[in-house]
Symmetry: C2
Subunit: 116 residues, 2 copies
């Protein structure tokens, strides 16, 4: 088969390593975690994520996301891709529409890492 890539699934759960407060982080672990946190650290993405999370079935179509955040369609598409690659959302296309669904495990992974 050629390229059945379908974005990237982190198959999240725990993020990568022991909780932040237990032991010093190595360089590569820190870089990986920074990528994940950077995906969250943007106002537009936080809003998109919260809108998806509080939608029916924690799922929303792109067309329903553009107006609420007040950004252009390409920009919204870009942010959704970032969130998806970080594992916080998953994408499924139904007809002409693309639906993005919350992946609670990814959030849980971050929480677990930051927990005391």
């Amino acid at each position: 088969m050629p390229t059945m890539l379908e974005v990237t699934d982190v198959s999240a759960g725990s993020v990568c390593c022991a909780p932040l407060v237990t032991e010093p982080l190595g360089q590569t672990d820190a870089e990986q975690l920074a990528v994940t946190l950077k995906a969250l650290a943007d106002p537009a993405r936080l809003r998109l994520l919260s809108i998806v999370a509080s939608s029916e079935g924690q799922e929303a179509c792109v067309c329903d996301l553009i107006e609420p955040v007040g950004l252009s369609q390409p920009t919204v598409s870009h942010h959704l891709k970032v969130l998806t690659e970080a594992g916080f959302l998953s994408r499924s296309k139904r007809g002409t529409w693309a639906y993005y669904r919350l992946q609670p495990a990814a959030l849980a992974g971050v929480t677990e890492f930051l927990a005391i």
Copy 2:
């Protein structure tokens, strides 16, 4: 007195608003949260935070942080300032040395916000 500023204390606890998944985030809340998360979303800062967190009394002197992260002293100082302004660390000067201490409540606030 002229400027007794002493950085900025968030006197953290909960971050600012309802958990991410409960209701759509407003623009200003999202911006505030993004600033907080951006402070975490950097490899060097994650490493610094984890080193401080796993030190005796969850506290460390700048001089003990420079070598482990392998960055210049001004850069380390910059990152510590960012973490302090975000409320994750507090600073206290004792003699010539500056000690940075973990503020667990700030981490707890983020955790609370991301929790399901």
